[in-house]
């Protein structure tokens, strides 16, 4: 098996297949990153996060990054290229989709239903929760009663408590955050010590990332990870079977990796790009693209932040960044609101260090002159934020294409992203920003600042090789297998049919594990090129 990409979906598949004795080779364009490199332990960390450790590949411009033309997109796609992929920099806010998220067309008449249900995915959610070391509190009524998270919840802190009490008064839903961050020792990993720099890499290794949770176990079972390896195309031979992939190293040397099965785990931009780059005489519009859906229906979760400024002081630079508490009060559709679908809110400290208080990356403005210090002092250690991910309905014109001029460092065509936010999403965010403002005012905020449709917010890449039962309208089946190429699998966020309104990594992991189990079950009947 060859896996393209050593992020979390590749890690889930690689670990499971290696456990079952498959020969696994993973090709990753990035490198192993040592935790000692992570900037959170250095005084200059807030400078480094704006360049070398930015989630925007166009800002980082490292050798392992490929450029993305985002000039036709309202949101910048974000990612990290390394063993561990974007889980190195993610917040680890670990939410499942709800049952209704799999039945959007049935319930709300928009988008499409998924070819599987919450119930079908639930056992895989449970298993990946354990593998990642998820901390949380059982019994959240926003979900069906299921298995308890493997670890107790992380502390919600005084800040979480203040907003939780406000929601109790409002009689609005809240729940302690569920995070893929250890609250207690788990599988040789140490628990969170509240560095507060989750999104620049966890110095403690307490935040789950595939370089810690999956690849070491895969390698112990014989998997091989080749870094600095950029895959250039998937090759297809007789009987429309994939025969392997070609890849180039940093020096430009080209190699061929033969494989019985090819697994794409390069995120919803990288995977779609590779399928388009793999066009050939028999498939001129890209590999596995007889439906014309490759690259289409990109979803990125338009994001809003509502910040409350409080008189009380909180140590907002400390703690897990992902989620102290969440609210799904307004998650499900209500026709009276003038839009369909909803959003989950995650509460996090909002100011990071003092540089971010002076130069807010999200809500708030820079202030100069005699008021500068008053402004910074009133914000630093005094702000709490709701982060709001609104459901992003699929649109065929939101898509990845190959750029006709822009090239990466290996000479490959860069992806061009076209992405427009729908009017439904704009109404949705307007509504949620207003409700979240009420929440923070009830909690005691004296000032509210908000930003919506933040440009640098495309962390959640979904939907460019959607799954489905109908080969005419989807790229892969419900187990990630390409309709057109039966030994080619897609296992990353490209699979998503709709986006839900929650952070997607939990679902990406569960889907990847389900795909891996299908590969294992089918090992006897899987046709291969050999």
């Amino acid at each position: 098996m060859v896996i393209v990409g050593a992020g979390i979906s590749g890690g889930v598949v690689g670990r499971r297949l290696a456990e079952e004795g498959f020969s696994v080779v993973c090709l990753e364009q990035g490198e192993w990153r040592d935790r000692s490199e992570y900037p959170g332990q250095r005084p200059d960390w807030e400078l480094a996060l704006r360049k070398q450790w930015s989630p925007n590949p166009n800002t980082r411009s490292l050798a392992e990054d490929y450029p993305i033309d985002s000039s036709a997109s309202e949101v910048e796609p974000l990612m990290f290229n390394a063993v561990g992929g974007s889980t190195i920099l993610y917040a680890a806010d670990w939410s499942r989709l709800t049952p209704g998220d799999f039945r959007v067309a049935t319930l709300d008449g928009v988008g499409d239903d998924w070819p599987l249900s919450y119930e079908a995915l639930e056992p895989f959610y449970d298993r990946t929760d354990h593998d990642m070391g998820v901390s949380g509190l059982a019994g959240n009524p926003a979900y069906p009663r299921g298995s308890d998270p493997p670890l107790p919840p992380l502390p919600i802190g005084e800040s979480g408590l203040q907003v939780a009490r406000a929601h109790t008064r409002l009689r609005w839903h809240w729940w302690p955050g569920t995070n893929a961050i250890l609250s207690a020792p788990h599988e040789d990993r140490r628990p969170c010590v509240q560095w507060g720099t989750c999104m620049q890499g966890c110095p403690e290794g307490a935040k789950a990332s595939a370089d810690l949770t999956h690849w070491p176990a895969a390698i112990a079972n014989g998997a091989k990870v080749i870094t600095g390896a950029r895959v250039t195309r998937v090759l297809v031979g007789p009987r429309s079977l994939a025969t392997g992939v070609t890849w180039v190293d940093r020096a430009g040397n080209e190699s061929f990796q033969a494989a019985a099965v090819v697994v794409l785990a390069a995120n919803a931009i990288g995977t779609a790009r590779l399928l388009l780059l793999s066009a050939g005489r028999d498939h001129p519009d890209g590999l596995a693209n007889s439906s014309g859906q490759v690259g289409r229906r990109l979803m990125m979760h338009p994001f809003a932040v509502v910040t409350g400024v409080f008189d009380e002081a909180f140590p907002t630079w400390q703690g897990h960044v992902g989620c102290r508490i969440n609210s799904m009060e307004f998650y499900e559709s209500d026709p009276s609101r003038g839009f369909v679908r909803g959003a989950k809110w995650s509460m996090a400290p909002s100011t990071g260090g003092p540089l971010n208080a002076a130069l807010p990356a999200r809500a708030g403005d820079v202030c100069w002159g005699s008021d500068h210090h008053r402004r910074v002092k009133s914000r630093f250690g005094h702000c709490l934020s709701w982060g709001i991910f609104g459901e992003d309905l699929p649109a065929v014109d939101n898509r990845i294409e190959l750029h006709n001029a822009l090239r990466d460092g290996s000479g490959l065509a860069a992806p061009k992203v076209s992405y427009r936010v729908s009017s439904n999403t704009r109404r949705l965010l307007d509504y949620h920003v207003a409700r979240a403002s009420e929440s923070l005012v009830e909690a005691g905020a004296h000032t509210i600042e908000s930003s919506q449709l933040l440009r640098e917010s495309g962390w959640h890449l979904m939907g460019t090789a959607r799954m489905g039962d109908d080969p005419a309208g989807s790229v892969v089946d419900q187990f990630g297998r390409a309709h057109d190429v039966e030994n080619l699998y897609v296992v990353d966020g490209s699979l998503f049919v709709t986006s839900g309104g929650v952070n997607p990594t939990s679902t990406i992991c569960a889907l990847a594990l389900r795909c891996a189990e299908r590969m294992i079950e089918g090992r006897r009947w899987q046709r291969t090129p050999a």
Binding site: K51, P99, G100, P152, T168, P191, V193, Q194, E332, W368
Partner: protein
Amino acid sequence: MIPSTSRARLADIADELIPAAEGMPSASQVGVAQQQLEVVFASRPDLVEPLQRVLAVSFGGSAVEFLEALAQTDPPGHEALVLTILGGYYTSEHVAGLLGYPGQGATVVVPDVYPWYVDEGLLDVVLERGPIYRPTPVEGNEDAPRPG
């Protein structure tokens, strides 16, 4: 790397943007154009070239007007100037101390298996309401919605 004349100009601009006030020092008092400049460049060598460029620009207005003009004409230069000044100022240990910022650090936490806020009843309202997710047909029994 940055000549003394440019450092003097940087100090002038920085002090106009971050003057001494509210018990806090001005930008130049903590060395934004001197030792803190080296801190910034060590972290962000990519800022050197655009900073040199903007400090060579003649401009007759105020520092704020200069920033506004740069934002229109030279966004990378604008970013370099802002980050150099703010980054140099807020990586100063003296400034951090005045703000009560100890820097990022490790704090051991002991999670509650059964958190005290549950005992306090803070989740009672949420739990008493029951499930809030929308029911969907259960596989194998399409007519039977899950409890909602």
